[in-house]
């Protein structure tokens, strides 16, 4: 094995520098840098030409080429002629190939440092653009719904059924599990506190009202945001990447009516049903928890619960879940339709759909809670 690359210099005449390569010049090995030559040139006086001697050069790869390219650039900048005849034929050809197409000056992306203010400005503009896109999307969706009620909307009934299946029956197990556990957790936590006052029976009120009025809808909404909203975004995003949405547009079909409408319709109709189911599971979860409580039995639990939960609670829960359904569908479909044309854009769309939906659900819950508080219901 030959030793690693080294450089030697000779000065056959006053303005001529000969660079002598020896050893193996390979990437990953300790190699001299082009700066060494530069220093040599600067210290040697008025050099006008560089020649090469590669008789002792061993193996070489891109390590040698990058070195030479750097040297080349320096020489052309400081008006020094380079005589490449001393280099091996392969090296010369590769260097010529690399120099064959001149660098496109305006093609390289500029990476100028951004000041804080311009960053802030960019983000603000992005925020307002995002908000106006959201409004535009909601507007288009409303128009699509109006056309649906006029019987003019163009979509496939089978699509609607498929989406309805995906966000009802297929979602039952996960909704059941989550709401059962939430009901149980509420009961346990409540029981510990209420036991201090000897009022463990009010666990039934706690579980019943919390689940029926709020928690069932929220938990279903969040599960559906992750399960269905993300799936909507990924589906529509992939269709965008695959030009399937362009294909709809060039047929004069509105992607909003054809793709978004069935998804929104399905979620808005089915979320209340899912949330009713979650109510039942949550209350059952609470009932299971009461088994461990010494002072409450299951009969008392249900008796107390029926007395505590009013019809208003149920209506508010159902109303909220329908709103959450629309939020999940809008977030999923909007992010999908805005998707860029790459694989990572589809991933971003799915993530952003879930985040948007969950934020939307929490904000909507706050608004609904404040409204019911003001209305006294």
């Amino acid at each position: 094995m030959s030793s690693s690359g080294e450089l030697l210099f000779e000065q056959p005449s006053q303005d001529n520098l000969q660079v002598i390569f020896s050893g193996s010049w390979k990437l990953g090995e300790p190699l001299p840098s082009a700066d060494d030559v530069r220093q040599k040139i600067e210290s040697a006086g008025p050099i006008r030409q560089i020649t090469f001697n590669t008789e002792k050069l061993g193996d070489w790869d891109s390590g040698l080429l990058t070195f030479l390219r750097k040297l080349w650039k320096y020489c052309s900048k400081s008006d020094i002629a380079v005589d490449s005849s001393g280099l091996p034929g392969g090296v010369r050809q590769l260097l010529e190939l690399a120099a064959a197409v001149p660098e496109k000056k305006d093609a390289r992306k500029s990476e100028g440092r951004m000041t804080f203010l311009s960053y802030l400005g960019d983000q603000t503009v992005l925020f307002f653009n995002g908000a106006s896109e959201l409004l535009a999307f909601i507007g288009e969706a409303v128009v699509a719904f109006l056309r649906l009620f006029q019987g003019k909307a163009q979509y496939r009934r089978t699509d609607l059924w498929l989406v309805m299946e995906a966000c009802s029956g297929l979602a039952l197990p996960i909704v059941a599990l989550i709401s059962f556990l939430v009901g149980m957790i509420l009961a346990f936590i409540g029981a510990i506190q209420l036991a201090l006052f000897g009022a463990e029976i009010y666990v039934a009120d706690l579980v019943g009202i919390a689940m029926v009025r709020l928690m069932a809808a929220i938990m279903t909404g969040i599960v559906m945001a992750g399960r269905t909203g993300g799936a909507f975004a990924a589906q529509l995003g992939t269709m965008q990447v695959n030009q399937e949405i362009d294909a709809l547009k060039t047929l004069g079909l509105s992607p909003i009516e054809f793709l978004v409408l069935p998804r929104m319709l399905a979620l808005a109709l089915l979320m209340p049903l899912l949330s009713l189911f979650a109510n039942v599971m949550g209350i059952l979860g609470g009932a299971v928890a009461t088994i461990t409580l010494p002072d409450v039995n299951i009969i008392q639990y249900f008796d107390q619960l029926v007395g505590a939960v009013s019809l208003w609670d149920l209506w508010i829960g159902i109303f909220s879940s329908a709103i959450f359904g629309v939020i999940v569908a809008v977030a999923g479909c909007m992010r999908g339709m805005q998707c860029g044309r790459s694989a990572s854009a589809v991933g971003d769309a799915a993530t952003s759909a879930v985040v948007t939906a969950i934020v939307g659900i929490i904000v909507a819950t706050a608004i609904i809670t404040i409204m019911t508080n003001v209305l006294g219901i």
Binding site: E244, A247, K249, T250, L253
Partner: protein
């Protein structure tokens, strides 16, 4: 010989992405019955040109006329009507992946005609047979090869008997024999249906085999440099870039 009758006319068109101008000052005419090739090197804006012609992206400047109608100055529903009389085959087929091939071809027919389901089925079978895919009606797009997807894309584009058919790089990603078959199919359809065909491609073999008219987009100076029959262009052109392109860089 019949007098050529303009079908699509492009006038002083500039296309741009934001501030970045892709092509400027494009003026050419696509006549009825032409197999019109939009050709040029990679990245010269051929596909962008097509997205403007089929109404997906507005031009930065200039006009596109379908017959005498100014396409981009028209109301959206007029544009929809015009574009409904066109069929588009996308580069990857762009078949709707949740539907079978038959459903893909049937959707435009269901949407825009009052045919009975039996009539629709017959029409779909005819279109599928025309592109050599008889028997594949119940397959999903993911179950067939790339070449078959493109042909299914053509069947869908032809579903409504369009007046003009657009093809985005029909032979890209196909083996030479499949590419040749697709060319033959385009020629046969053009002769028998007398549909105007607009083909975006840089495949020389296709260009000379099927093209009756063309426009050459030169990426280096960002405008068109020639329009006319590709074989004639090869024989007559003095422009070195176009010669280089049409001869695969072999003559200078």
């Amino acid at each position: 010989m019949k007098q050529p009758e303009p079908h699509i006319t492009v006038k002083d068109l500039t296309m741009a992405y934001g501030d970045f101008v892709v092509m400027r000052d494009l003026t050419f005419t696509i006549n009825r019955g032409d197999v019109f090739i939009i050709m040029g090197g990679s990245g010269c804006g051929k596909s962008t040109m097509m997205t403007i012609l089929i109404g997906l992206k507005p031009p930065a400047k200039g006009k596109v006329f379908y017959d005498d109608t100014d396409f981009w100055a028209s109301e959206p529903d007029i544009r929809d009507q015009i574009i409904r009389r066109a069929g588009v085959m996308y580069q990857s087929g762009a078949l709707w992946s949740s539907m079978t091939l038959a459903e893909n071809v049937a959707l435009p027919i269901e949407t825009y005609t009052n045919l009975t389901p039996a009539e629709i089925r017959d029409t779909v079978e005819l279109k599928m047979a025309l592109v050599g895919l008889a028997g594949f009606e119940e397959f999903y797009p993911s179950e067939i090869s790339g070449g078959m997807q493109k042909r299914a894309g053509i069947a869908r584009a032809m579903a409504l008997d369009p007046e003009v058919l657009f093809f985005d790089e029909p032979s890209a990603g196909l083996d030479p024999v499949s590419a040749r078959r697709l060319d033959d199919l385009i020629l046969q359809l053009s002769e028998s249906l007398s549909t105007t065909m607009v083909v975006v491609t840089h495949e020389l073999a296709s260009i000379f085999a099927i093209g009756s008219n063309s426009v050459f987009l030169d990426a280096s100076i960002r405008t068109m440099t020639a329009t006319g029959n590709p074989s004639k262009l090869l024989a007559e052109t003095q422009d070195p870039t176009l010669r280089l392109f049409l001869t695969r860089g072999e003559q200078t």
